[in-house]
C-alpha cells in the first residue's frame, strides 16, 4: 500500500490538544484549539459530522483569544461507539465535557443537531451557559411531503420496517471501504455545496485507513433520518424563555441536511435581545462555506474573551 496521502486545506489546522473524558462509561474524544490558558468556549458539531469538521472555523475563534473546545459526539469521530444513542444522552455527554472545563458558565456554539442539543442544554441547565450561538440548528417544521393520511400511514410503516430491518443487521454492519476520492464523492451527496477539496481533506481526518481502504469512523449502526414522537416545534418552544443571550445564524439556501426553517418561525420565538442573522447565499454548513464571516459574527457577539 502506498504511504498515506497528505491532504491539506487552506486555513485548516489540527487541534493543538486532544484528550478524552469518561461520560458515564462512554469515552468521548475532546479536541482543543488555542492557548490552554485562554477562557474556554464549547463548540458542538452536527449529526454525522465530527469535531475536526471545525479545522478551519475553530482556529479563527482561537486566534481571537478563545480556548476552543470541541468533542466527537458518541458514535462519531474518535469517541466510543455506544449501545444507545439519544439527544438526552448527547446533552449529558456535553455536560461531562463542560465539567472538564470547570463550573463557570461559558459560551456555547452549536451547529445543526449540535445547535439543537446545546439549545436543550441551555434551557435545562441555564447556569452552565453564558452566551449561546446557534448555527443553522433551529428546526421549526416537519419536512413531510404533503400526502393524504392513508398514504402517510403506509409510508411511515415502510420507514419503520426499514429501520427495524437495519437494526436486525446492525451488529454485523461495517462501513464500506474506499479511496479518499470515493469517500469524498459519497459525502458530497450529503454536502453538495462543499468543495471536493474540503471533502477530501475531511476523509483524512474523519476516516481511518484500514488495509482494504478508508472507512468513515462513524458507528455503522447509526442511520440518517429518524422518526419518533419528536417534533421540531418542541425545539422552538425552548427559545423564548432562554436565559443566555442568543445569536442565531440561519443559512437560507435549502439543502438535504438542513432544516429549511422559515425566518418568521425564528423571529416570533426570539428571546428578548436575541439576534438573528440570515445568510441568503449560504447553505446549512454556514461555518464551512463562510468561515471568516461567521467567525466575525460570533466574535462580535461574544465580545472580548478577557
Amino acid at each position: 500500500m502506498p504511504p498515506d496521502e497528505v491532504v491539506t486545506h487552506p486555513g485548516a489546522r489540527a487541534p493543538e490538544r486532544t484528550r478524552t473524558v469518561d461520560a458515564h462509561g462512554v469515552r468521548i474524544a475532546v479536541h482543543e484549539w488555542g492557548d490552554a490558558g485562554d477562557p474556554p468556549l464549547a463548540l458542538a458539531h452536527g449529526g454525522f459530522d465530527f469535531a475536526r469538521t471545525f479545522d478551519v472555523f475553530a482556529p479563527l475563534l482561537a486566534e481571537a483569544g478563545w480556548r476552543v473546545v470541541s468533542w466527537d459526539q458518541r458514535g462519531h469521530g474518535d469517541s466510543d461507539h455506544a449501545a444507545l444513542y439519544s439527544w438526552e444522552a448527547d446533552v449529558r455527554d456535553t455536560v461531562t465535557v463542560l465539567d472538564s472545563l470547570g463550573r463557570d458558565p461559558l459560551p456555547v456554539v452549536g451547529h445543526s443537531k449540535g445547535g439543537a442539543v446545546t439549545l436543550q442544554l441551555a434551557a435545562s441547565l441555564p447556569h452552565r451557559v453564558s452566551r449561546l450561538v446557534n448555527l443553522d440548528g433551529l428546526p421549526s417544521r416537519r419536512n413531510w411531503p404533503d400526502v393524504p393520511d392513508h398514504q402517510r400511514t403506509k409510508m411511515l410503516a415502510g420507514d419503520l420496517a426499514s429501520w427495524l430491518d437495519h437494526r436486525r443487521g446492525a451488529a454485523e454492519a461495517v462501513r464500506k471501504p474506499g479511496t479518499i476520492d470515493e469517500l469524498a464523492a459519497r459525502r458530497a451527496r450529503m454536502n453538495p455545496r462543499l468543495s471536493r477539496e474540503w471533502l477530501r481533506y475531511l476523509v483524512t481526518v474523519g476516516a481511518r485507513h484500514d488495509p482494504d481502504g478508508w472507512r468513515w469512523k462513524i458507528d455503522p449502526s447509526l442511520r440518517l433520518g429518524g422518526f419518533g414522537p419528536w417534533r421540531p416545534e418542541w425545539a422552538m418552544a425552548r427559545l423564548p424563555g432562554l436565559t443566555a443571550p442568543l445569536l442565531a445564524v440561519v443559512g437560507m439556501q435549502p439543502e438535504q441536511m438542513g432544516w429549511a426553517t422559515p425566518p418568521v418561525d425564528v423571529e416570533i420565538s426570539l428571546p428578548s435581545g436575541g439576534r438573528l442573522e440570515l445568510m441568503d447565499d449560504v447553505g446549512h454548513f454556514v461555518h464551512i462555506e463562510q468561515p471568516r464571516r461567521v467567525a466575525d459574527l460570533v466574535l462580535d457577539f461574544l465580545g472580548d474573551p478577557r
Binding site: D80, A82, L84, E88, R92, S221, P229
Partner: protein, 237 residues
C-alpha cells in the same frame, strides 16, 4: 415432538446488546424452542410477554396469561433483568421496540402482551411489524404513563448515576420521561389495524388511561377487553 432439554433462556442479539428471551412454557408441537418453526401457525403461536419499566420477566407464566393455549415467552428489555447493561444510557421507547423485533426474529409471528411500558412498546411493534404481530394486549404496569404529551424542561444529570446492575438507572430516568403524544400513538394503532388484516389488532385492558392510551382506545382497530377475553380472541386468529 417434545420440548428440548435446552436452557429455557435464549440470548438474542440487538446490535451491541444481548437480550434474554425466556421460555416460560414449552413449545410442544411447534418445532421446538428456538427452532426455525418455533411459535408459528395456529394454536402453537407464541405469546410474548413484555415487562413494565424497571421490572424483569416473570419466572413462570403469570396467572392472568394461563389461559393462552400456546407457548409463552418473555423478553427482558435492554438494561433490564438478564439482558446486558449498556454504558451511559440513551434509552427511548423505539429502541425497546427494536428489542422486541429481535425477539420476533427468533419466534416468528406472535401475540404480544405488554405491561405498562411494555404495553406501549407492544403498540409500537404492532404498528411497525403488522405482519408478525397477531394481536397486542396493553395492560397496566410501571411506565404506562410515560413523560406526558409534550416535553417539559428536562432534568439533566450532571452527576453519574450509580449503576450496580439491572434495572439500569438510566432506563428508569429516561423511559419515565419519554414523551408520548396521543396522535403519535394513534398512528401506530392505525397502522396495526389497516396493515395486519385483523379486525381487532389491539386490546386495551389497562384500567389507567394516559392520553396516549385513551387515543388508542378510540381507534377502530382497538377494543376494550379484559386480558382473558383478549387472549381468547387472539388465540383464535
Amino acid at each position: 415432538m417434545s420440548a428440548p432439554a435446552a436452557s429455557p433462556t435464549v440470548r438474542v442479539r440487538h446490535n451491541r446488546v444481548e437480550l434474554a428471551l425466556h421460555r416460560l412454557r414449552g413449545d410442544d408441537g411447534a418445532g421446538g424452542a428456538g427452532g426455525a418453526g418455533a411459535g408459528r401457525a395456529g394454536a402453537g403461536r407464541a405469546l410474548l410477554h413484555l415487562h413494565g419499566l424497571g421490572e424483569r420477566s416473570p419466572e413462570a407464566v403469570p396467572d392472568r396469561l394461563a389461559s393462552w393455549p400456546g407457548p409463552v415467552w418473555a423478553l427482558d428489555f435492554t438494561g433490564h433483568g438478564a439482558s446486558s447493561l449498556p454504558a451511559g444510557g440513551g434509552y427511548f421507547c423505539e429502541v425497546l421496540m427494536a428489542d422486541t423485533d429481535a425477539a420476533l426474529a427468533h419466534l416468528g409471528a406472535a401475540t404480544i402482551y405488554g405491561r405498562g411500558l411494555g404495553g406501549y412498546v407492544a403498540l409500537l411493534i404492532a404498528g411497525s411489524r403488522p405482519d408478525l404481530v397477531r394481536g397486542a394486549v396493553i395492560d397496566d404496569g410501571p411506565g404506562l404513563t410515560g413523560g406526558g404529551t409534550e416535553p417539559t424542561t428536562p432534568f439533566v444529570l450532571s452527576q453519574p448515576l450509580t449503576t450496580t446492575g439491572t434495572p439500569d438507572p438510566y432506563a428508569l430516568l429516561e423511559l419515565s420521561q419519554d414523551v408520548r403524544p396521543p396522535d403519535y400513538a394513534s398512528t401506530y394503532a392505525r397502522q396495526a389495524a389497516t396493515l395486519s388484516g385483523l379486525d381487532v389488532a389491539l386490546a386495551v385492558s389497562a384500567v389507567v388511561r394516559p392520553p396516549w392510551l385513551a387515543a388508542v382506545a378510540r381507534e377502530p382497530g382497538a377494543r376494550e377487553l379484559s386480558v382473558a377475553e383478549a387472549l381468547a380472541l387472539f388465540a383464535a386468529v
